[in-house]
Symmetry: C2
Subunit: 468 residues, 2 copies
């Protein structure tokens, strides 16, 4: 059953929400009075379509529909979730909530606000119990964090429902248990931003130098462990107490401009804008977005391969995307998008990744004959002994492909597959793989006969896939 | 000519410096009065040996020697660089500098200090002009950032020499032009740390929740672009000025506890330590280090594949590690360590990565016949048409391997190679690849004859590699 989200307020954030839902198979209904809204959301959708599917090694569900509506009432009709991302003016938000609740009384409402607490949002609401903060991070179509902040008036059931919805579209709802100005993450961003403004103003460092100081050092650490776990490791065997004892005293040293707020004079704004131009002005915003998204995808996929941090979230979500193929023929053993980290300098798919694609396809065939993850965990598997790949046409990042597989030999320990990699758009044959595998015992690391139920399925598929 | 670094003060930081130099082929002489120093540095060396070589797709140079010495004078004798990482006590540092300069007057000295400015370090020094801050980030053997902070008394020539040395071992020297307490990066760390302590103390968030708020959101952004470039993109087409105008007013809102320093009471320390145990206590520090290093390697390799941020630094350093193979036989076309991001869940090297390894080996063969990067940039290359890989023995992350290649056919457009992948430790044959390539015009994407000088080299190698 397709679910429906209403997005109130477009822009970069609203557009990111719309994309996240549409690409996960939800229908999305947008209200934004800006005459440019459809174009703006279209641009975010374009970025998101190119990026989000690359996080996963399986295809996302069929896209939902995206529609634009002239009134809030129309947009929220039939919605299972409403996401509000209008301008940060409290009286405007109150007005929007009133219209939403008049048209769709029971619907849970999340606000993208960074500036208001849920209790402020709820002032004067017809039903405060359905309103909470669900604060995302740009780009919303890639970054998993959502701060979910209820007030005491929010219904706990609505919060749990919201967390389920967010999780189902690949997000990570961080339940903030105590409402506070700026929630959690933005308090850190604010502290760093303020300190960075001082460093620029005082001529200590340029915007480029500050960015380098972040991305070549602690930024990489924080992407995977955050602050406390990083310091726990730094403390060594002696642990957190030792670390605090060592690092503690500097809290009261003049290591930040903590007593002062920099004044945003025209002079300071010019200085920052000029330095930023010098640093990044050779690239357009579109180019910077593509660069950023490429980096994020490649790093998040790297974390997925490690099974840690944001990568673990993606892995969990990806498990819901995996489907057992029909026996066929054709047996469709893989269906996916080629991600950016699979390409060479010259932009086409690296030779090695064909091997990985066909190896993933074989895993699907193995699962279909009963040699699935549990089976492997139980100590039996198939290992590839020989693989011949023919490269027929070039493939590029972003292309959707399918692998059609046939079992060409199934005798005792032997399992042989012939895979055809096809471009989804026109069915063009891109590469083939003739893959010969042997059934192995993972303890002895030697080949052995598979159990009867697997052997029978292999024989059955080989007969079914025989070319006639 | 092997160069020599003296490391004064072991521990996690000194050990990381030692490892960085030794693994880049420097001889390292250590002084640390701690009787445990050799064991402690040995542990860091172990981590570093397992991690640093994985960043690169070519082998690092032969390790230098690591020796321990009973006096500072002995350790710094003949050193080209001295790195001081002793306890953060100024009078101790002054004493250490005096001993270093008495024994090796001209040597440039870098201090790992976070707490002192270079002008403070130089007080009373025999030769202030050789002393500067070179502040690293843990783990020093993986993270590239070094804040290089001279004072006005530091010789600019010594600073340039230091930057060259640091760059040569794969580090990124960030020249901090104005000395300031805590340099640059630690000012941000301090601001975030202080705010995080308040959030824990006030019961708003646990250490785990704070880490999640960082690593699932802005942490991933900062790993690749830092602060200002991220905000430039967020500002969209309107740019930095627009972003500041939008985000500026919150500077004076109560978004941080900026007026207050949290007091580190026993109660607060206990609260943090207990929360940290709940979050990470199921893993030992060694396990956390391995997890961290695996994540960092995989993410930095992902950035390398994208050619951006820290990955661009690694790419530049890696270019110095690439060597043209001898014609042989055997022609050694690859020599490297299997990185963590090349393994499957079951810990052995993914099928696809064999294809990538052999593709890299072919690139070395191509370069040897004149089809190198410049040649490809000029519009000609070889494309693989068919590749048969035989998988003989399993391979795991961390193993050193070599590929021995022979040109088995070289006729007109055709280039065929036979590659043998061998374990470096015992020469065991792990896999073979029979790879058939065609010479192509990259503009028409069609096969074509190679120019005469390339054709001649191909014929020459085929004759040389013919089995007799």
């Amino acid at each position: 059953m397709t679910r429906t989200a209403a997005i109130i307020g477009g822009g970069v954030i609203g557009g990111g929400w719309a994309a996240r839902f549409v690409l996960n198979g939800w229908n999305v209904r947008v209200f934004d009075p800006d005459p440019e809204a459809e174009r703006k959301i279209g641009e975010v959708m374009g970025n998101a379509r190119a990026a989000l599917p690359m996080l996963y090694d399986f295809a996302l569900p069929e896209e939902g529909t995206l529609s634009f509506h002239g009134t809030i009432a129309e947009a929220v009709t039939g919605a299972d979730w409403v996401q509000e991302s209008v301008t940060e003016r409290l009286e405007l938000k109150h007005k929007v909530f009133a219209e939403i609740q008049a048209a769709n009384p029971g619907v849970p409402i999340g606000s993208s606000t960074s500036g208001f607490k849920p209790s402020e949002l709820q002032q004067g609401a017809a039903d405060a119990s359905r309103i909470m903060v669900t604060h995302p991070f740009n780009p919303v179509y890639l970054l998993p964090l959502i701060e979910v902040v209820p007030s005491e008036a929010t219904d706990p059931g609505a919060v749990e429902a919201a967390k389920d919805i967010l999780t189902s579209v690949g997000l990570y709802p961080l339940h903030v248990r105590k409402e506070i100005d700026a929630h959690i993450a933005d308090r850190f961003l604010e502290a760093v931003w303020r300190e960075a403004l001082w460093l620029v103003k005082d001529g200590v460092a340029t915007t480029q130098e500050i960015d380098d100081a972040i991305r070549f050092g602690f930024g990489i650490r924080w992407a995977q462990m955050g602050l406390f776990e990083t310091y726990r490791v730094a403390g060594g065997e002696a642990g957190m107490r030792h670390f605090i004892a060592q690092f503690g005293p500097c809290l009261s040293w003049p290591w930040t401009k903590l007593m002062d707020v920099p004044e945003l004079t025209d002079e300071l704004i010019d200085m920052i804008a000029d330095q930023s131009d010098a640093q990044s002005g050779h690239l357009s915003i579109r180019e910077l977005e593509r660069k950023r998204d490429g980096n994020l995808i490649a790093m998040m996929r790297a974390l997925k391969q490690q099974g840690n941090a944001a990568g673990r979230l993606i892995k969990t979500h990806e498990a819901t995307l995996r489907h057992m193929p029909d026996d066929g023929p054709p047996m469709i053993s893989a269906r996916r998008v080629i991600p950016v980290d699979w390409t060479d300098n010259n932009g086409h798919m690296n030779e090695g990744r064909y091997g990985q694609l066909f190896s993933d396809a074989s895993e699907a065939v193995m699962a279909a004959v009963g040699a699935d993850d549990d089976y492997i965990a139980g100590g039996l598997s198939y290992f590839t002994v020989e693989n011949t790949i023919k490269f027929i046409e070039e493939t590029h990042a972003g292309e959707r492909i399918e692998v059609h597989s046939r079992v060409t030999l199934g005798e005792g320990k032997k399992l042989r597959c012939f895979h055809e990699m096809k471009r989804a758009s026109d069915g063009a044959l891109l590469a083939t793989s003739d893959q010969f595998m042997l059934h192995v015992n993972l303890v002895t690391r030697r080949s052995c006969e598979p159990p009867e139920h697997v052997a029978a399925r292999v024989t059955q598929l080989a007969a079914l896939h025989k070319e006639t």
